[in-house]
């Protein structure tokens, strides 16, 4: 996590709110709405209480920084970085083509979703996807046992180089071209590498705060990376921060859904991505998860978790309407499809140990026109006002 970010203390008892926030959705929403005012008012105050700084606040800092960067770049023309070797358009086109192939190979539904975007955006999203996937495979792939922390440092160095216009290989070159065309900040990428480092060490998460940070690292960053590519609608009256917050919420919601879907699979690898304190509150332990039996305690626990994930989806929905018209359909489609996974977990009687919750093809196809309908909703000033409150 960037040490460069200035810590701002928000003395409003947020630690307690974050622990019990999941029980009272309203409390959470209100608290999050309050944060912007909190930030502005105490921006110059000294560090109040470092221990009270929750992950949500730290992540919010990053969102603010990214939003500020985008605004700055709108004012000053983006300096075109001179990239050596990038005058070779054939190589670049081939690189983008290969990015598309890799995306189609590993994430078929996502690839189909990208086909709903404009060609330029599609290529940019592919390049980002391939970088994220390669980073993930460094620690999670078939050859992950040979990766040392030093390798991740080198990988981060390569990332910095490509942002400066010196990509190392062809996939880096595609990403370098993407970041030269869209105002993407380097921080989410660095945070993702940080998340990989975290994953090397940690296999248990004590509370939701830790889990939130992890979800930010591996999925929230993706949301932040893709907003500059998707673009915010010019007629939108929402602030840049709110759109980024919504993208962040979408990433978190997706990751929480993944976690809830893959409880059994992760348990088999010895990992539990559910907050330990919430498990204890529900009367469950790691043993119950490893045993893999669906009990009533498990059902009620899962209900709460699913409720929280749905809350994040609701947060995200507010921001999708503010995106560029051409990008709303694919984003809506992916949001609705992922949300349906939660429904399918419920339909499996909360058995995520042995049953894989997936959405059937028919239902997927049916979601597309629904997403199209919702994408037609234009950003209204009323919606923007609601978001600002």
């Amino acid at each position: 996590m960037p040490g460069a970010l200035l810590y701002v203390g928000c003395p409003k008892g947020n630690v307690a709110a974050s622990v019990f926030g999941f029980e009272d959705g309203k409390l959470r929403k209100r608290r999050r709405g309050r944060l912007p005012a909190c930030r502005i008012s105490v921006v110059s105050s000294a560090v109040a209480n470092p221990a009270a700084r929750t992950s949500e606040e730290r992540v919010y800092e990053v969102v603010l920084k990214q939003a500020a960067l985008v605004r700055e770049q709108k004012k000053t023309k983006k300096k075109t970085v001179d990239m050596e070797g990038m005058s070779n358009w054939d190589l670049l086109n081939e690189a983008y083509g290969r990015c598309g192939d890799v995306c189609a190979e590993y994430a078929k539904t996502f690839y189909l979703g990208t086909l709903l975007m404009t060609p330029e955006r599609r290529r940019a999203v592919w390049a980002i996807y391939v970088w994220c996937r390669r980073t993930d495979e460094l620690v999670d792939g078939p050859n992950a046992s040979h990766i040392t922390p030093k390798a991740l440092d080198r990988w981060e160095q390569r990332l910095s180089d490509l942002f400066e216009g010196s990509p190392y290989d062809m996939y880096d070159a595609a990403l370098a071209h993407t970041v030269s065309k869209y105002p993407v900040d380097i921080q989410p990428f660095k945070d993702m590498i940080e998340g990989m480092r975290l994953d090397l060490r940690k296999s248990r998460y004590q509370n939701f705060d830790e889990l939130y940070l992890y979800c930010y690292y591996v999925a929230g960053t993706v949301g932040l990376m893709s907003v500059p590519v998707m673009g915010i609608a010019p007629e939108s009256k929402a602030t840049t921060e709110t759109v980024y917050n919504a993208a962040l919420a979408l990433g978190i919601a997706n990751q929480l859904t993944n976690i809830l879907r893959d409880v059994g699979e992760d348990a088999r690898r010895g990992r539990v991505y559910l907050p330990q304190d919430e498990l204890a509150l529900a009367g469950l332990s790691d043993e119950d998860i490893f045993r893999g039996q669906v009990t009533d305690k498990w059902r009620s626990f899962m209900k709460e978790q699913i409720k929280r994930a749905r809350m994040f989806f609701d947060e995200a929905e507010k921001g999708v309407a503010e995106l560029n018209a051409a990008s709303r359909w694919p984003v809506w489609a992916s949001l609705l499809l992922y949300k349906q996974i939660l429904d399918s977990i419920e339909a499996n009687d909360y058995n995520n140990f042995t049953k894989r919750a997936y959405v059937g093809k028919a239902k997927k196809l049916l979601t597309l026109p629904i997403a199209y309908g919702r994408a037609l909703m234009v950003p209204t000033s009323k919606a923007a006002d609601q978001m600002r409150s």
Binding site: Y106, R134, Y168
Partner: protein, 318 residues
Amino acid sequence: MICLGRTLAVSFPSTSLLCCPCKSPYSGTEKFRYGKFPPFLRPNWRLMASEPGSSSLAGSVDSDSPDINASAGFCIIEGPETVQDFAKMELQEIQDNIRSRRNKIFLHMEEVRRLRIQQRIKSAEMGILNEQQENELPNFPSFIPFLPPLSSENLRVYYATCFSLIAGIIIFGGLLAPTLELKLGLGGTSYVDFIQTMHLPMQLSQVDPIVASFSGGAVGVISALMVVEINNVKQQEHKRCKYCLGTGYLACARCANTGALVLIEPVSTMNGGDKPLSTPKTVRCSNCSGSGKVMCPTCLCTGMAMASEHDPRIDPFD
């Protein structure tokens, strides 16, 4: 594990199992791990004296350390300034280093084998079930699509099905069909009538039965073999690394796959404007050491989706 230190001085290419095939005139050039061998087999002081030449390798490649990856310098992911490409070594040194490392890999494999044996013994003692069935032939997928995977029990079933099908077809064609005077043309017509109704040239009806059965059989066999091959290709493709498409390398972005960087020197146009421009000088690209390709970090130059230590690393110049 005796390595023929003394006899190496005679420099015969020994290919015996555990010995380093040493073709160099140096005696005992191989750098063995100290603890295991008697003093006379310890690394040759002569080679150690030439070590300073290789100490320019960022001071880190200590080949005495058992775990190269853990030592300070070496790292799987390389950056443009940090490629440990051993460029400062002499040719003979490089050959010796290659030989010593390959020997080490060989010896490591043997150690892995012995460790595995101990692992089996100890887990059997502790009653831990070995999950992998390493007894008979393992399961492997059939090359023919839609058929279940093969194993030794399955193979018997495959044989039985195969023979019975062939026998059945022969009996059908040889005995049943003529006896029942089966006419398999449309609406029960004979071959000649079938040709006539299809308005095909009449010479087809006069095809010799031997020729007809041979052609039919050959077509069937050839198409079956084609299907098997195509399926094989698909399965092999499945196993190859998707990022580099099995080549093990990705195009170097710095030199755009050419291997050479063009040095752009600003030319003054103030004086001497009538001299023609000389061709720009090129320098070898430092990213890829001139090969135009860089390592694919996903498959580690093996080209396989799941690399193991057995997979050979692909050379960039192939």
